[in-house]
Every structure is written in structure tokens, then in C-alpha cells.
Amino acid sequence: MGMTIAEKIIALAAGADQVKAGDIHTVNLDRMMSNDGTTHLTVDMYHSKLNTPRVADPKKVVFIVDHNVPSDSPKTAAAQKKMRDFAKEHGIDFWEGEGVCHQVMMERYVCPGELIFGADSHTCTYGALGAFGTGVGCTDLLYGMVTGSSWVLVPETIKFNLTGSLPQGVYPRDLMLTIIGQIGAGGASYQVMEFCGDGAKTLSVEDRMVLCNLAVEAGAKTAIFEPDEIALKWLTDRGRRPKAVFKSDEDARYVKEYTFDLDKIVPVAARPDFVDDVVPAVQVCGVRIDEAFLGSCNNGRIDDLRVGAAVVKGRRISDHVRFLVVPASRQVYLQALEEGLIDTFMESGAIVMNPNCSVCWGSCQGVIGENEVLISTGTRNFKGRAGHPSSKVYLGSAATVAASAVKGEICTADML
């Protein structure tokens, strides 16, 4: 019986010739990532619950402060200090101010064929490079850090055959929201979303990150692309080499198959309070907004800033809108500076922030008040996610968000 890419990665990590969906295997982890959302809890457990605390291999562990940057209270400062001190003591790579954790991981660490645990639900982003990244809690992270291993249930795989190419003015964000809208918030529960087909070849690694990143919003354990020449060139350009380059076998087992024609995708929006409540963006046009957010591990990359800047160039942000622009990493920020995009945003009246998770996680920056409306390229629009329980979050592409910021109400870029 053939295996999928995901099964091959797990087999390699488990030291097994063959694995199949439903098996439980003990695996060696290639890498573990933890951010300031929960690392302090892991460190507390490390000190209080273990008889013989140790870190199996510090080189496999990465700590990234990205959720509250810079810290917004003595409490978060204390939590981050705990993380910083622990990293220093144990020789763990530590980043703060560098960017959103998944962006930093992709820029500096992730390699095809790796099995990676991250204490953050959007760790599934790493499938853009053909790695198996999956989100876990702080106890799983602790166990992995101390033993170098963990257990995984081998997930079933769903095949998403992509055909055609996205039309002008339509973005990977629109495609992924469309997919989630169709299959539902639990449509890929416990499963792997494998993207393939000619349409996949039209997508850059950054585009693939957009798709993989949101897979958890369909309940997926992870998402994955075959690491093709596009992915391998991207990796080589950054001086890294794959652990293993896997393709799914022709007789691999898929639990379900979908086909999406990229030519037919249109700009869409997810309505409050569910990521799978997706409609064509025209249906929500006219909704008055108070804030717009361009950023996050989903859409804070240079491509997104270029799209946003092109929309706002020579225009003014609506006087009743706060438009937050948050590059996903230092590298993205520097590139945007070089291209003059930051100038364009600042001249338009946008508020440009340092790289971090910002309002996407609803704790530190740009939190919205009672009954306020946000349109966002963030990952989630759950009830109260961005602030007050009565506030509302719409999700859309960088183009839709930037256009809405200019108009003061939801609109698509071609309506300006």
C-alpha cells in the first residue's frame, strides 16, 4: 500500500517502514517551537512537575516572543522574562521583535520532510515547504522538549486538486476561505489537507503558506504541498537543505478528494463569528467598519503589503477608520521599507506597527470596543476574538481590507 507525504514523514520520524492512518506511533521530533502565548506555562511545569528536568536537544527548540510585542503590562513582561531566561540558560534559540512565530520559522528553520510541533494552532503553516507541522498545547511541548519525542495518531489525508490559476484581483486568501466555506470548520478534523495539481504549481511558497496556515480553521491536523522545484529553490535561496523530499505514492489512500478551479474563485469574506461563514465579498459590501488590519501569520508578508500599498497609494484612509499595518517579520518590514511601501501606508494615514501578532489575537494592539467592526487579514473572527464580546470581525484578502479602510465600509478593491 502506498503512502501519502504526511504518512512518509511520520514513518521516517517513527523509524517505521510503513505507517497507515489510525496507527499511533512514537516519533522523534525534528523541531519544537513555542511562543509567548504559553511558554511561561511550559517553563513553570518544567520547574515544578519534573523530578529530573532536562532539555533533550536545545538545538531543536525555538522560542519566539510574538504575541505581546513589546510587552503591554508587568504580567506579560514577567512571562516573557521567564521565557528569555530559560532560553539563555539552556542554549535555546530565542527571538523577540523578529516577527510572528510561523513567519520566523519559515524564514529560518523549516525544511521539507521535518516533523515539527509548535505550541500554536497555526503551526500547520509549515506544510508550504513539505514539512509536517502541527499545533499542540504546552504539556505536549514540554514532553517533546524533555524527551525529544512524542506520540502521533497517523491522520487520514484529504486530497485537494487545484486546477487553473487565480484571476487578477483574487488572492490565495480568497481561495482558502472559499475552501473552508465549502468543507466547514470541522471539514478536515484530525485530517491532513494535501494540495496538489496544476493549480498548486501556480502558487509561490508564500501563497502556499496562506493555504496551509488556515487549514486548522477547517479542523485539520496539518496541510501539505509536495516540495517541488518552487519550494526547493526557495529553500536553497535561504541556504537550507531538505531533510527529505517526499511525494505521495500513486496508490496512496485518500479519504476524500475535492477539486477547486482557481479560475472560478472570486473575492470573498468570512462573516462574524465563524471562519466557515464565507460569502462573496460583494454580499457584505457597505458594512461600516471602525478598524482594518493588514498583517498576521496568514497575510502579513511582502506580497500582501504590496497589494495593500497599491490599493491605498494616492488615497486617504477613511477618517473614521484605524488602519493597522503590521509586517509579519523584520525581513518583511525591511523589504517594505526598501520598496517604499511603508511610506505609502504612512502617507495614506495608516498606523504601521512593529512585527507581531497584533489584533489578530485580540490582546495587545488595536483591540476593538463595544459593537465595533473590524475587517481583517487575521486568522480568526470568533466572537470576541479581537476585543469586546459584542464586536464583529470580518475576514478578507489584503486587497479587500485595504480598500475597505479607504472607503470606511467593506468593499472590494475594484469598487474604489
Binding site: I24, G37, T38, L41, M45, K49, L50, N51, T52, P53, S73, K75, T76, A79, A119, D120, S121, G135, V136, G137, C138, T139, D140, L142, Y143, V146, T147, W151, A185, G186, S189, Y190, V216, E217, G219, K221, F274, W361, G362, S363, V367, R380, F382, K383, G384, R385, G387, P389
Partner: protein, 164 residues
């Protein structure tokens, strides 16, 4: 076989971890401080009413969203004995097991059970509600071992005779 009864609270589909414990309360000092805000965006009164030994019955995809482990910890601190849902989101499922919180999937109970009624649970066998029995599937042995020990870290201590 473990057997218990408990009063039921009924919740809908796609209850996410931002509803179970919103981001803004994660910086509070302890789970004890956080627990009063459990479910606050959806049902602010609920946390104050839940009593030790109560059972949550929910629809599909319970616990979707963020990987915050404070979510199962808050539910445990509120005294929730177990959660029976049509399905669970996987990170929440794993985090709950790792914290010794019992979860069971049952596709039909949710359609029939009423909030406030008392149901009987026989682990790995069935749940009884209003005179009717609904089958429960068995959890894999390695997960039962973790739950019975009170969580992943304790299970490792029990298994190895020492901490991991």
C-alpha cells in the same frame, strides 16, 4: 468500569477556545482567577452556575481554535467531570487528555438531552439519558492510561517510576 452521574449543560456547535477562555484573561495569575470568565462571550452567567461533577454536552467541533491549554484547565477548574460532544477539535482533544480531562464523542445524545437533566455515564460503554442508552466508543489504551494518571506528565511518572 468507571461510572458516574452528573447534571448537564448543553452547548452548540463550534465552541471555540476564545469562548471557553477569552484572550484578555490569559494574563491572569492562575487558572483559579481565570475560571470565572469561562464561556463569558457566549454565556457570562455559566461559569458561576457550573458545579463540581457537572457534565458538558456539546455539538460538533468542540474546542476549535487556539492551542491554549488554559481552555481544558479552566473547564477542569470549574469542576466539569467530562465533556460529551458530537466531535472535538484535535488540539483541544489532545490538551484535555494531557490534563486528565475526560472527553467522549457521541453523535446522537446532543439531539435529545436537555439542559439541567442528570445523565449517567459508564465510561467506554454508554451514557443514559431520559431512559435511553447511547453507546460510547472506547478510548485507545494509551489515552486511558494518561487520563487515569491525571495527565501526561503524571502518566510518565507512573510509567517510569520517575518524572520524564
Amino acid at each position: 468500569m468507571e461510572q458516574f452521574t452528573g447534571k448537564v449543560w448543553v452547548l452548540g456547535d463550534d465552541i471555540d477556545t476564545d469562548i471557553i477562555i477569552p484572550t484578555q484573561y490569559l494574563a491572569l495569575k492562575s487558572i483559579e482567577d481565570m475560571k470565572q470568565y469561562g464561556f463569558s462571550p457566549l454565556r457570562p452567567e455559566l461559569a458561576g452556575k457550573i458545579e463540581k461533577g457537572d457534565i458538558l454536552v456539546a455539538g460538533k467541533n468542540f474546542g476549535c481554535g487556539s492551542s491554549r491549554e488554559q481552555a481544558p484547565e479552566v473547564l477542569k477548574a470549574l469542576g466539569i467531570r467530562c465533556i460529551i460532544a458530537r466531535s472535538f477539535a484535535r488540539i483541544f482533544f489532545r490538551n484535555s487528555i494531557n490534563n486528565g480531562l475526560l472527553l467522549m464523542e457521541q453523535p446522537e445524545l446532543w439531539d435529545h438531552v436537555r439542559e439541567g437533566e442528570t445523565i449517567e455515564v459508564v465510561v467506554n460503554s454508554h451514557v443514559s439519558s431520559n431512559g435511553k442508552q447511547y453507546p460510547l466508543t472506547s478510548l485507545p489504551d494509551n489515552l486511558v492510561e494518561i487520563i487515569e494518571a491525571g495527565g501526561l506528565v503524571k502518566a510518565m511518572q507512573a510509567r517510569n517510576g520517575l518524572a520524564v
